[in-house]
């Protein structure tokens, strides 16, 4: 028993001291926040003039979200005049700052004019290189085959709303028959009802489905023979762009932007594979979208039908930064309120697409103008003052406790030191790994945490005092007291940890930073309490050193 206590005590001390030492020697210090250390500042301006201040406020929020999502913690983003100023904590390199705030491209909606090449201009084509069986280009065909097959089985020539048959108009749930191209089953379930389907129902589909052709899985690996002719880029405003899956598509000029989508409405759901749903902004957004979808559905010149067969429809590309993020084919002429995109995504692909649709709502395109370094906003002396005052306060606390608990308070002194070193190492590690930086509020939060940490000793020692007063020996009182104390401490600390975890997951900005450091200090408290304080007090209580001393100013029974 004694041996295990020694092992725990020594191992903990060594571990903490080594961790601290290595952090200090490698210069891995906790990052300090904007208010304490400054950082970099980037000024963004709208590319085109005429952006209203409401637009800028919207962009501000979107940039904030986007920065947080990409892991930049606690940025300070605000509209200043006609510009947006982004202050990033802890970043000293202005180029790095410029790169990290480059998040404000706008999403364009461009109808797909042609697969693979743009030479044919805006004219509708009937499937390039149709060769049902062979050639790498069969990728397209391979993709279309199940669709075409299923369509052959359809009797209704005019199935404008293939998926309204099972969905009542008021139903907001995603349909089950999302018809991924490669899956014929849902289509089959459609069949019996399909002929009975009438037009009015097709006009108000509540739940609207696009299917995303994910070619990557279907294309043979060796698509070497096909070299997209990127030089023939622009013709009638058409551009040959590469999708994220490596599929070259010729797309027409943008007919809408991500603004047609409701802000922050894109979500990922699991429905026969992953599905990305996004709401359409009522009014203008929906009108723009439906105008586009009608063109693609009917195969108008601007958005010709891709592939063969009755079920083949035009495709609509979602483009960001000249990369096609997704190019689903449009399965209905009109959408009511919401759009859902299905296909062979895995979860991260679906999440990416949802994020893109969300950020696509930038109303204006912003461009970074310049990056500068900024100094600490709280004034350079604040950190020093906080630390001096904090240390002085802690010294006062220790003096008080030493006076109050006498010899046993030595444990508090060493325990607090160990705790402080642990918190430092943890903060250094976390701020290195996650970008969270220590702001003035964080520093003072840690100073407050000293009080909570000291409390675990006070609870422990008061309990021991009770036991001793009732006639126990010190040696006997210590383990009993610890048992009761531990119960109290973990209950109380667990609440803090729960709080920290929830606030961290669900909130943003400085609240998140606060939660992080609350969690760190509380966990360190639990760690030190169990692995350092317990063995230290238990060993001290049974040592010869304490015998005959008045541990708590009380006479100890022997």
């Amino acid at each position: 028993m004694t041996r295990r206590l020694w092992v725990s005590l020594i191992a903990t001390t060594l571990l903490v001291v080594i961790a601290f030492g290595s952090n200090v020697s490698t210069g891995n210090n906790p990052k300090l926040g904007l208010d304490l250390q400054g950082g970099a500042s980037v000024i963004l301006e709208p590319v085109e003039s005429g952006a209203t201040s409401e637009d800028l406020v919207v962009v501000r929020s979107l940039i904030r979200d986007e920065l947080e999502r990409t892991g930049i913690a606690e940025p300070d983003v605000r509209v200043q005049g006609a510009t947006i100023v982004v202050d990033l904590p802890g970043v000293k390199d202005t180029q790095e700052a410029l790169d990290s705030v480059d998040v404000s491209g706008i999403v364009e909606l461009r109808p797909v004019v042609n697969f693979f090449e743009c030479n044919t201009g805006a004219e509708p084509t009937d499937g390039v290189s149709i060769d049902p069986n062979a050639t790498p280009a069969a990728g397209t065909l391979g993709l279309e085959v199940p669709d075409a097959e299923s369509v052959k089985r359809r009797s209704a020539p005019d199935d404008t709303a293939p998926d309204t048959d099972t969905a009542p108009d008021t139903d907001t749930e995603p349909d089950t028959d999302t018809e991924p191209d490669t899956d014929t089953e849902p289509v089959e379930t459609d069949e019996p009802v399909e002929p009975a389907d009438d037009e009015p129902a097709g006009d108000e589909p509540v739940d609207d489905v696009l299917t995303d052709d994910v070619l990557a899985d279907l294309l043979p690996d060796d698509d070497a023979p096909i070299v997209p002719d990127l030089s023939a880029a622009t013709l009638n405003g058409n551009e040959l762009l590469i999708s994220r899956d490596g599929e070259p598509l010729c797309v027409g000029p943008a007919q809408g932007s991500g603004e047609v989508f409701e802000r922050q409405s894109a979500t990922v759901a699991i429905n026969n594979g992953f599905e990305v749903s996004v709401e359409l902004r009522a009014g203008q957004g929906e009108a723009t979208w439906n105008n586009l979808s009608a063109q693609c559905f009917s195969g108008a010149a601007t958005c010709p039908i891709q592939g063969v067969g009755n079920g083949a429809r035009g495709r609509l590309a979602i483009v960001l930064d000249d990369v096609i993020q997704s190019a689903p084919s449009v399965n209905q002429p009109a959408f009511n309120g919401a759009v859902s995109i299905t296909g062979q995504f895995d979860q991260s692909e679906a999440q990416d697409l949802a994020n893109i649709l969300n950020r696509g709502a930038f109303p204006v395109e912003m461009e970074a103008q310049e990056a500068r370094t900024v100094s600490a906003s709280a004034g350079g002396d604040s950190l020093r003052a906080a630390i001096i005052a904090g240390l002085l306060g802690v010294a006062l606390v220790l003096t008080f406790l030493l006076f109050y608990y006498r010899w046993i308070a030595l444990v508090i002194l060493s325990g607090l030191t160990i705790w402080g070193l642990t918190v430092y190492s943890a903060a250094a590690f976390v701020s290195g790994a996650t970008n969270y930086s220590l702001s003035l509020a964080g520093v003072t939060g840690i100073i407050v945490a000293v009080g909570v940490t000291v409390d675990s000793y006070v609870v422990f020692f008061e309990r021991m005092k009770d036991e001793i007063r009732n006639g126990r020996t010190l040696k006997n009182a210590a383990p009993r007291s610890f048992k009761m104390t531990w119960r109290t401490i973990w209950s109380a600390d667990l609440v803090s940890v729960i709080g920290a975890a929830i606030l961290f997951w669900l909130s943003v900005g400085s609240v998140r930073g606060f939660a992080l450091f609350l969690g760190i200090t509380t966990l360190c408290d639990l760690f030190v309490c169990y692995f350092f304080t317990r063995p230290a007090v238990l060993l001290l209580a049974r040592s010869k050193f304490m015998q005959g001393r008045r541990a708590f100013g009380l006479e100890v029974a022997s």
Binding site: G379, A389, F400, D455, V459, E462, D466, G471, S510
Partner: protein
């Protein structure tokens, strides 16, 4: 010196030895009245004048002043100070391109002021930096703490409180969850009240301070309730009124609460007095004040709000207790760990393990004699050998009395 179980003569001595016998439950109305005042004043003030939201929440005005040898951050502070604008709520930063000192600017953001004052400031900045008014860029800034941050934080907070309530209900009981959350609300309202009544500026740091207070309050209340729950088990078989259990527990944790308060408050007080007072870090001042107030309130509320509320909630549950609440010396006897049994113990017969003199102490105390000794079921607080009571609940009684 004295035996460990000797009752100290002086108040502080008793406090030090954990021998206090304060009837917290009996004074619950004082706590309730104070809490009611806090709530009414805070809500009233919130409705009448609201909170003084700072730059980060409401936006304001910004100046970009060219920096040079004679004009830097401290000079900008001086200008603001001369014009009677608080530096606490302002952000003054030096911005420069990397490695290029020549185009450095001092950017000053302050809360919105009137147009004339803004013009005066522009002129003042121009004068101080030795440039012309045209060189000083002036613009309006938006908030950087948008409403969506507040919304997300509030949503997280609500979920947190629900989960904490569930946790306390499982670990303790639901009434404790109610009492703990009430005490927490009291503390946060108190801190918010200070801000709204004195119209201190609310910054993101203040919000953090409120959250810290919230966490601290819950922590403190749970430590206290843990002792209540422990004592509840200990006295389960003697039909102790719940108010007594609470009273005993409060007195037992009193020293701990005081020590913890001192340990928690000293660093914060040091931040307030030394950090912002002597060392002049003004940004610390209101933050430290909010923390100080909130933490004092947290310690106060766990004893004077949460515990009496818990006792009140529990008052009519379980089996009816057999006797009046313990007060005075009886309460003290219970507090210092002597057991309370259901029987009147004949104090003239020393118990077998009377080896530490506790029974002696009990005997030497003037016995309460109020004439109803004939009532055999009357419960007297007596000293029992402490070990029996301290860590174990009493063995269940084997046969029914009478």
């Amino acid at each position: 010196m004295s035996r460990p179980d000797h009752i100290a003569a002086s108040g502080p001595g008793r406090l030090y030895r954990g021998q206090t016998a304060i009837d917290f439950f009996g004074r619950r109305m004082i706590g309730a009245a104070l809490a009611a005042i806090v709530v009414v004043v805070t809500i009233g003030s919130l409705l009448v004048q609201g909170l003084n939201l700072g730059l980060d929440f409401e936006g304001g005005q910004a100046w970009d002043v060219p920096a040079n040898d004679s004009f830097d951050v401290s000079d900008a502070e001086q200008v603001l100070d001369d014009n009677g604008i608080s530096i606490t709520g302002s952000k003054i930063q030096r911005r420069e391109s990397t490695g290029d000192e020549s185009d450095a600017i001092v950017s000053v953001q302050i809360e919105e002021v009137s147009e004339e004052q803004a013009e005066t400031l522009t002129q003042a900045f121009a004068d101080a930096s030795g440039s012309t008014v045209n060189d000083v860029g002036f613009s309006f800034t938006s908030s950087s703490w948008g409403s969506e941050i507040t919304e997300k934080a509030l949503r997280a907070l609500v979920i947190f409180l629900i989960i904490v309530a569930i946790f306390i209900s499982i670990r303790f009981e639901w009434r404790m969850a109610v009492a703990a959350l009430a005490a927490m609300a009291h503390d946060v309202l108190f801190a918010v009240g200070i801000y709204t009544v004195f119209q201190f500026e609310v910054t993101p740091a203040t919000v953090i301070a409120f959250l810290t207070i919230l966490g601290y309050s819950l922590y403190d209340t749970i430590v206290v309730f843990d002792r209540v729950q422990e004592n509840e088990g200990k006295y389960a078989s003697v039909r102790m009124p719940y108010a007594d259990v609470v009273n005993i527990s409060m007195n037992q944790v009193l020293m701990r609460s005081i020590n913890t308060s001192i340990s928690s408050l000293l660093p914060v007080a040091s931040l307030l007095l030394i950090g912002s007072g002597l060392l002049g870090a003004v940004t610390l001042r209101e933050f430290a004040l909010a923390l100080l107030v909130g933490m004092i309130s947290g310690i106060y509320s766990s004893i004077f709000v949460a515990a009496p509320l818990l006792a009140t909630l529990r008052a009519n549950t379980g089996r009816a207790s057999r006797r009046e609440r313990l007060t005075g010396e009886d309460l003290r006897a219970a507090v210092i760990g002597a057991g309370v049994t259901g029987r009147v113990v004949d104090s003239s017969t020393p118990t077998a393990d009377d080896d530490d003199g506790s029974t002696l102490a009990a005997r030497s105390r003037p016995k309460r004699d109020d004439g109803d000794d004939s009532d055999l079921v009357k419960t007297a607080a007596v000293h029992q050998p402490a070990e029996k009571i301290l860590s174990h609940p009493p063995r269940p009684r084997k046969k029914k009395r009478r």
